[in-house]
């Protein structure tokens, strides 16, 4: 064999067999003190060895070193030995020390050199109260900046829309339809099921409370008004905030982590036009349709309870429904595109803001869900106040 394998094989054979936990002994001899290192200096015995090293007197360094009986040595043991001997003695380590093979000597020297790199000083810890105040301040600043960023992003999206609208050849119909399918059609089962159940719950609630006044027939009105004005849109928006905003953030965030957004930009393509516009438009189309479906399913849930539990026959139920003015339905549904716009914007913006790591994408996904649900509920409350004052 001409390669180095034979040599390394001998090297392994020459390695001493395990000899039990390592020891170090300081002896006073006729020619001054003598430090004897023996046994296995390995990770397995680290804690015991560290105590032994700490117990060695530091002041009187031995004149003579001996590694007779040294078993195995690994980097953990070498670290302790290097600590024990100190960097100066290691640098002056003679070429041949009894019992120390050239390989172990090289290891000891390598570790010794590595140890010379000093650890950076620990960061000073400040006053807890001041840190708390600082944290509050930073959070407030972040929230303020977040609002400004969202408004800026809204402007960017609207201007991209204004640029793309007059040019039909730049409409991305395929992407739009695909996103409508993902955010709208695929969400139909979950939205329908949930609103049906909430409709039934509201009807039960109405039946329980209104029965005391002998007015359980108004349960139908309760379900109709609440779903048309509020719950239909609100429940759908909250569900899509959880389902779609997070998906948008994760999609765009992972593209950002993979430098795909940068690739788009250097090719002269606008990520807003390519990625944000189709998503925003798709949600603006899908959410009102889902909200309409939610109203229907909520009413169906209420109707089922009315029919089965309150003995209100279906014709009577429909008659009461048809007496509800249309404006309540419109007041509810007019909010849907606004919610859709904001949910999609927040989802996309958080994606753009995420960093290059998977963890950052995860954090921003959480943040986009929290923000979009918050915005939806806040706006809904403001809208309810406004519509009531206007008498709509």
């Amino acid at each position: 064999m001409t390669d180095g394998v034979d040599d390394s094989d001998n090297e392994v054979a020459a390695r001493a067999a395990p000899t039990g936990p390592g020891r170090c002994r300081l002896e006073q001899g006729p020619r001054g003190s003598r430090l004897t290192i023996s046994g296995d200096w390995t990770l397995a015995y680290y804690s015991a060895l560290r105590r032994a090293v700490a117990a060695m007197p530091r002041t009187q360094l031995p004149g003579e070193l001996s590694f007779e009986g040294l078993g195995e040595l690994d980097t953990a043991g070498a670290t302790l030995l290097a600590n024990l001997l100190g960097s100066e003695r290691l640098r002056e380590l003679p070429e041949s020390v009894p019992g120390l093979t050239t390989e172990y000597r090289a290891l000891l020297l390598t570790v010794g050199r590595a140890l010379e790199a000093k650890a950076p000083p620990p960061r000073p810890r400040g006053n807890v109260l001041i840190e708390l105040l600082g944290r509050i301040g930073r959070t407030v600043e972040t929230v303020g900046r977040q609002v400004v960023t969202l408004l800026g992003f809204m402007g960017l999206t609207l201007s991209a829309l204004a640029l793309a609208l007059p040019r039909p050849q730049r409409w991305r119909i395929t992407a739009l339809v695909s996103h409508i399918e993902q955010t709208g059609l695929n969400a139909v089962p979950i939205v329908a099921l949930l609103t049906f159940m909430v409709g039934a719950v509201v009807a039960f609630l109405g039946a329980t409370v209104l029965n005391n006044f002998g007015a359980s027939i108004y349960t139908v009105d309760l379900v109709a008004y609440s779903f048309m004005r509020e719950f239909g849109v609100l429940l759908t928006a909250i569900m899509l905030a959880g389902r779609t905003a997070s998906a948008f953030t994760a999609q765009i965030g992972s593209m950002k982590a993979n430098e795909e957004l940068d690739a788009l930009r250097v090719q002269g393509l606008d990520p807003i036009e390519l990625l944000v516009l189709p998503r925003v438009l798709a949600l603006i189309i899908a959410l009102p349709m889902l909200a309409f479906l939610a109203v229907l399913c909520g009413l169906a849930g209420g109707g089922a309870v009315a029919l089965l539990s309150l003995d209100i026959p279906l014709p009577r139920f429909l008659e009461i429904l048809s007496n509800v003015p249309l404006q309540h339905f419109l007041v509810g549904l007019v909010k849907a595109p606004v919610f859709a716009f904001l949910i999609a914007l927040i989802g996309c913006l958080e994606g753009f803001k995420s960093g290059s790591s998977a963890e950052s994408v995860g954090n921003h996904t959480t943040s986009s869900v929290v923000q979009s649900i918050f915005v939806v509920i806040l706006l809904d409350a403001l809208a309810a106040l406004f519509f009531m004052e206007m008498g709509w």
Binding site: D6, D9, V12, Y46, L107, T110, A114, S356
Partner: protein, 260 residues
């Protein structure tokens, strides 16, 4: 062959199939104690798949992989973990845990497997960090704050945390600058000499092959085409091997290795 003793890793009749696509078919490979084996091959010849099969991340479609005489996939979990502690893996992109700092990344196996207290583990981790050639300040950073080369070094430090006997490297010098790559080669040689490491290295870097590898295995046509010392492999009559070792880059690396 008898002079080498028992191989530390033994691959016999390995078959890896992804659906219809066959990557390996009847692949045999031995890794002997104390050697640095370089595994080369064109793109898509299954170098990384081979590495994943050996470390037990992928169950082969057929055939057997034995590490230290045992088949990892057949072992009970505890025994398998014990064996896995004796090998370290450096993944292509580092695979550092992004939620931990570099020091915490290196200290994790020490805390989990060697039962060291946190302070001791972090002290040892700092030594490994310096061994891998990273400045001390890098220890408190998160992987996302490091450059590609630093991530590689930090990942090497983590792979070495438990002083494994067996080290698997997946393209260790890819993405390093030439100075960093050369330093990495020297580091590998030093560690091999002092720790008695056995190294399985998937690489494209001809300089690394010429500087560090004792043996080279060429993956081609779904098996190991040839495995042996560099001169023997380079002399093989195969178009790919010829292009690889005697192309402009191969000649330059050979020249560099001879003159240093």
């Amino acid at each position: 062959m008898s002079a080498r003793g028992e191989p530390i890793v033994q691959v016999r009749g390995l078959v890896n199939r992804f659906g219809e696509h066959v990557v390996h078919h009847g692949l045999d490979l031995d890794l002997y104690r104390g050697e640095i084996l370089g595994v080369v091959g064109g793109s898509g010849t299954g170098k990384s798949v081979l590495l994943r099969s050996i470390v037990g991340l992928r169950r082969p479609s057929a055939g057997e992989v034995r590490i230290l005489g045992e088949n990892l996939l057949d072992l009970p979990p505890l025994r398998r973990a014990e064996l896995e502690r004796r090998s370290g893996v450096l993944f292509q992109n580092g695979a550092l845990f992004s939620s931990l700092t570099v020091i915490e990344n290196i200290a994790l196996p020490l805390i989990e497997h060697a039962d060291l207290p946190r302070a001791d583990a972090e002290h040892l981790a700092r030594v490994k960090l310096a061994l891998a050639g990273l400045p001390p300040e890098a220890g408190d950073k998160y992987p996302s704050e490091l450059s590609g080369g630093m991530v590689k070094r930090a990942a090497l430090a983590r792979a070495l945390a438990l002083d494994p006997a067996l080290l698997f490297l997946d393209e260790p010098t890819a993405g390093l600058d030439p100075i960093g790559a050369a330093a990495f080669d020297q580091l590998l040689l030093t560690l091999r000499a002092s720790l008695g490491l056995t190294v399985f290295m998937v690489t494209h870097d001809l300089d690394t092959i010429y500087t560090t590898c004792d043996r080279v295995a060429v993956l081609s046509r779904k098996r190991v085409l040839v495995a042996g010392p560099l001169q023997q492999v380079a002399a093989t009559d195969d178009p790919w091997v010829r292009d690889y070792f005697h192309g402009p880059r191969g000649r330059a690396a050979q020249f560099a290795a001879q003159t240093t």
